[in-house]
């Protein structure tokens, strides 16, 4: 064995040792890290209050497979906690035993370092006596070994505090600038054979998911009840077949919206639809209106011809606003 071969073997040995050493280091349990910015908030800090919501927020320091998270609370904390929401960590189950809330992850997966986790639990009962307490939050792996841990700021439970609970109703105000109208039409005069009548509607609602506006008319439509009975045909069979104004001896409506209300696509561009007695949704909003009302102008249009029998026609238009759930 010459000198060069010996040197090569020595280098290989050193490399092998280095790799093995690295493997040993990787296999050894890492020292527990410190969770970043642990925050604990309570929805009500009155001593003994029930139905309280506790929110824990923190950031992982190390990558690890989190199987459970424990959060210490004062000794006399009670109630049956329910999971209100979770973020940054998978689905799981909550339990309160003694002075520790435990969130057990159903299917643990690796959670990278610097992941922001938030757990919100409701249904808790505050400790029975005044105290100021911190919460120690610990992330644990499947072998109940600590991955990261840290302590929150202090939360004070006091007897003399005033609890304020405000319930804001889901409220909707719907106004119409018209309660009824009459029109005089004459087929002999071009200027009065077609008449439009705008009905201005406005909606204000604080419903979180917005509202729906639907329209319907009476089952007979625009109807003459005296002999010979007659109903002026609708501009279309409904929203699905809304189109440009179809011509004489028709009755229908178009829609102009102001505000973030979405109208039915078929009514875009001044198209006209006929009312239906079953009712159809013509506009929706996906969120609350805020302080500024949404305004909706419905333009009712009637065009008569000599095919339209003379007489008095009546109809009832019902516009219904319903807040979304």
């Amino acid at each position: 064995m010459n000198h060069r071969t010996l040197r090569t073997l020595a280098s290989a040995g050193v490399a092998t040792l280095a790799i093995a050493g690295a493997g040993v280091l990787a296999a050894a349990p890492a020292a527990a890290g410190t969770l970043g910015t642990v925050s604990w908030a309570v929805s009500n800090n009155q001593v003994g209050a029930s139905g309280v919501q506790y929110t824990f927020t923190f950031t992982t320091a190390d990558t690890g497979t989190i199987a459970s998270i424990t959060m210490t609370v004062p000794a006399t904390t009670g109630g049956t906690p329910a999971v209100e929401s979770n973020s940054g960590i998978g689905a799981g189950t909550v339990d309160l035993t003694s002075d520790t809330i435990t969130y057990t992850v159903t299917s643990p997966v690796s959670v990278p370092a610097d992941t922001s986790i938030q757990l919100v639990f409701s249904g808790l009962t505050n400790p029975s006596s005044a105290t100021s307490s911190t919460s120690t939050v610990t992330t644990l792996n499947g072998s109940d070994e600590t991955i990261d841990a840290s302590t929150s700021q202090s939360v004070t439970f006091a007897a003399g505090d005033t609890t304020v609970t405000i319930a804001v109703a889901q409220s909707t105000t719907f106004s119409s600038d018209t309660q009824s109208f009459s029109l005089l039409l004459d087929p002999s005069l071009a200027g009065t054979a077609t008449i439009t009548k705008d009905v201005g509607l406005s909606v204000q609602s604080n419903a979180a998911s917005g509202y729906t506006l639907s329209v319907r008319n009476s089952s007979n439509g625009l109807y003459k009840s005296t002999s010979p009975t007659y109903a002026i045909p609708a501009a279309s069979a409904g929203m699905a077949s809304a189109a440009t104004w179809p011509g004489a001896n028709r009755y229908g409506y178009s829609l102009t919206l102001t505000g973030p209300t979405a109208g039915h696509a078929n009514l875009n561009g001044g198209n006209f639809a006929g009312y239906t007695s079953g009712g159809e949704s013509v506009a929706t909003a996906s969120g609350p209106t805020g302080a500024s009302a949404h305004t909706i102008a419905l333009t009712n249009q009637i065009q008569v011809s000599y095919a339209t029998p003379a007489g008095t026609y009546t109809d009832t238009l019902t516009y219904t606003v319903t807040p979304s759930y």
Partner: protein, 333 residues
Amino acid sequence: MGCGTRVVMAGRTAALVTALMAVLMAAWPALAMPANAAAGSVLGVSAPADPVTAVPGQPVATTVRLSNGGTEPLTVRLAVGTIKLGDRGEVTIDAVPDPVWAASTRIAEPTVTLAAQSWFENRVVIEVPAGLRPDTYFVGILVTPQVPASGSVTVVNEVGTYVGFDVPGPRQRSVRISELDLPGAVFGGTVPVRVRLVNDGPSFATAWGELHVSGPGRSRQVVRLPGRYRLAAGSYRDVTVSVTPGFGAGPVKVRATAFYNVSDQTVAETTATASVWVVSRAAGIAAAAAAATLLGGAILLAARRWRRRRRAMRAAGPIPPSGRPHAGRTAGN
């Protein structure tokens, strides 16, 4: 001239027709406008935002507040309608009495006359059947102004409202993500993501969720879906959010996770994954600059080669009529 005479005649006719129309309109102004229009109404209806807790076999009481923001008295009628909780949170309440709840719901004052600028709190009591299974229930109420029939066409501004109550206890909930919609490719870095949450269980459910966005490269972020989403059984709701992956270009993987309570203590999750090719604006500019540099270099190289070849051709002398200079040289060899 004949032509001019025709113009004058046409002008006279037009003037005559205009005058006649003016007389007609003046004599019968109602022709061009609504003959009669009654003033409108301003109706406000409020109900508790959250369901109240009910006990099977016992009545549950709640209130519906009515307000008249108009300048005239307003009479309204309240009736239980048939409620349908649809997709996207939309609610429809038909005027047909609800076959389930109409008989067991008592409205203290079914007809109320509200003075101008006044309000009234109407008590609503629902008899909850003894065997009702745990779930969240809604009773729809239509509040309909009683409009005097003074015109040919009557306009009614009706408000639909609903009161909810929850029967506590274990229930079967199931939510899934039926669609995770991403564009095929995005230039500029902001990716619109649409998640469709479907309640495919038999009970009312509330869901929340987040997006795990990874790539390009090793970038990774968690984006929470804004809010908690109430889903009636069989309905869906779309949630749209925009995410901005990190710098670079390449495939971005989006994993959507929705959570929901299978019981108060236990949360279940459902996931869906999709990918999109993203070129961030900076990466796009860098790539465009690199491409422009390469193109410029290629053009310069080609121009230099062309000049070199031209010099060689000049040095080789005039091109013989039979062909290219090197062909001549080959022939000479």
